[in-house]
């Protein structure tokens, strides 16, 4: 049934990673992603990998979950690393017409695959340990400086929150409308692609109509409670930076410095 679709990836828990300030988590995840790209050799990438694995362990989220998140992008990983297989210098191993596989190519392929996988894992830690509401809260706070460019940060965050809030409601509604139209003999399950799309019209129109109705109702309810945008609005859950956050920040900085140092000082000569 349609209700079974899992939404968001949040995995509730009480680990230290869960308890970190969401702003810090978002920021540090971005920093880490940048440094995964800066890591230029196996030693520095290895350091980032170990760092990511430790964070994964600390998050308390089962590893099967992480594996599931990689499975989704497995195709991209394979595709890019196979493409990279054919570029790069070094000793030629196989030659077939103008295509050649070299030691450098193999090195690149492995390197790119590891890099993408670590990247996915790093961002998964964020989405697994931060609820969507926390995430929008953090984004609102982090995007605040954009106000100088007249970007309505609060409004954007509010829209994201509302959208997330209504996804399950709309799914349930879709389910109901589908049942009602099926009861009137609508055939939603067979036929070619065109007839299937056409068959969705009796579902989509009522869904649109009720979404607009809900939007009006919600807007009315918000105005009745004197909502007038972000001006002068205070938070119910004020975010606080604690010692945990500072320590995590310092560790991340140390790892990043380590990546830069390894990049500069370690010369790798295998497979080249």
């Amino acid at each position: 049934m349609i209700k079974d679709v899992t939404l968001g990836q949040y995995f509730p828990g009480k680990s230290i990673i869960h308890k970190l300030d969401p702003r810090v988590k978002v920021l540090l995840t971005l920093v880490n992603i940048v440094f995964i790209f800066i890591a230029g050799n196996f030693s520095s990438l290895g350091l980032m990998t170990v760092f990511t694995l430790v964070a994964m362990l600390l998050s308390g989220v089962p590893f099967t979950r992480y594996i599931r998140s990689i499975r989704g992008v497995l195709f991209i990983v394979l595709f890019t690393s196979i493409l990279n297989l054919f570029y790069g210098g070094g000793t030629v191993l196989v030659k077939w017409g103008f295509i050649q596989i070299t030691t450098g190519g193999i090195r690149n392929a492995i390197f790119i695959a590891v890099r993408i996988v670590v990247l996915i894992l790093m961002s998964s830690i964020l989405t697994y340990t931060t609820s969507p509401t926390q995430l929008t809260d953090a984004l609102e706070r982090l995007m605040k400086p954009l106000k100088i460019f007249r970007i309505k940060v609060h409004e954007i965050a509010m829209m994201m929150t509302i959208a997330l809030r209504f996804v399950p409601t709309l799914l349930e509604e879709t389910d109901k409308i589908m049942s009602a139209q099926k009861a009137r003999g609508a055939d939603l399950e067979s036929g070619g692609i065109i007839s299937r799309v056409k068959a969705l019209i009796p579902v989509l129109i009522p869904l649109f109509v009720s979404s607009f109705r809900r939007a009006y109702d919600l807007a009315m309810a918000m105005e009745c409670r004197c909502y007038n945008g972000g001006k002068g609005r205070t938070k119910m859950k004020v975010l606080h930076i604690t010692a945990k956050d500072i320590i995590t920040f310092l560790i991340t900085v140390a790892v990043c410095v380590g990546v830069v140092l390894l990049n500069i000082f370690v010369v790798e000569n295998f497979l080249i």
Partner: protein, 288 residues
């Protein structure tokens, strides 16, 4: 002849997952052709799940549903035919309207049945009069109708398929008292005229008492009672224990009966109560 029969019908949501929940368990009911059944039960008692089994919107986890003696899931491909035979009006059916005119929307079911345009039109005209929709509304967009008109148009859309069994899930929810009375008497009239089977799901004992021949009471996924209306209301105490009320009128009549007045306690409409009490009052006046 049983038009609908269920045998050991069980349905579990999310079977095989940690979130599995049994919505109906071992339901055995038989409904004869032409009966008017009232289905009542608390929220979460399994009413909605049960009715969705009857037209094949949900497939039983175990057990069978027989329509005119045949298992509806015998041929999976033909489940749509079952849906034309067992018409289902969902709760708040006005939200399923989608066509650009009312007449087209009511004709959606019949068109899906593969009827010719003439036949579709004929059926639409028939049901429009039946539910009491103004002909002037037919060419309008269904979204321009009032709430009550929308509800009628949506019910007309199901009746237009001329089903053997009509299932209505809380058809009077959200209507004002007048609209409710009107709709109920129309459903009753429909039942009497077409002589087919109607299953009415409702929270209101009063509504059910007015129209149903037999009442099916569901409680915690199981059939609690399934008997003639009068007999069901005799179980007032048990009904109250599972959080259902008998009609207020019945309660008063039972109290009167308990206190020694010669009245029939199995009364569940106001008219019947008047008939019972009035002679008593007149006799009392004569004795004075």
């Amino acid at each position: 002849m049983n038009v609908i029969e269920t045998k050991n019908l069980t349905y579990t949501y999310g079977a095989g997952t940690p979130f599995s929940k049994t919505a109906i368990e071992d339901v055995n009911i038989a409904i004869k052709k032409g009966e008017f059944i009232g289905l009542i039960g608390h929220t979460g008692s399994g009413k909605s799940t049960l009715i969705q089994q009857l037209n094949g919107l949900l497939r039983p986890t175990s057990g069978t549903v027989l329509l005119n003696g045949k298992d509806i899931w015998e041929k999976k491909k033909e489940i749509r035919k079952v849906r034309f035979q067992v018409g289902m009006v969902f709760q708040y059916p006005e939200y399923q309207l989608f066509e650009d005119t009312v007449i087209k929307d009511i004709g959606f079911g019949p068109r899906n049945m593969g009827l010719s345009q003439d036949e579709v039109n004929q059926r639409v005209m028939q049901v429009v009069d039946f539910v009491g929709l103004d002909h002037a509304l037919l060419e309008k967009s269904p979204f321009d109708l009032s709430g009550g008109e929308k509800r009628r148009a949506a019910i007309a859309g199901v009746i237009a398929m001329d089903p053997d069994v009509l299932v209505l899930d809380e058809p009077t929810a959200g209507l004002d008292p007048q609209g409710r009375d009107h709709l109920l008497s129309q459903i009753k009239a429909y039942h009497q005229q077409r002589q087919n089977t109607v299953i009415l799901v409702s929270h209101s004992m009063e509504d059910i008492a007015r129209v149903a021949d037999r009442v099916l009471v569901m409680n915690e996924s199981k059939v609690f009672l399934f008997d003639e209306t009068a007999k069901v209301f005799f179980h007032a105490k048990e009904l109250e224990q599972i959080g259902l009320r008998v009609p207020q009128v019945t309660k008063i009549m039972m109290k009167l009966h308990e206190n020694g007045y010669p009245v029939d306690p199995a009364v569940f409409t106001l008219d019947q109560a008047v008939k019972e009490i009035l002679p008593l009052v007149q006799r009392g006046a004569a004795n004075d």
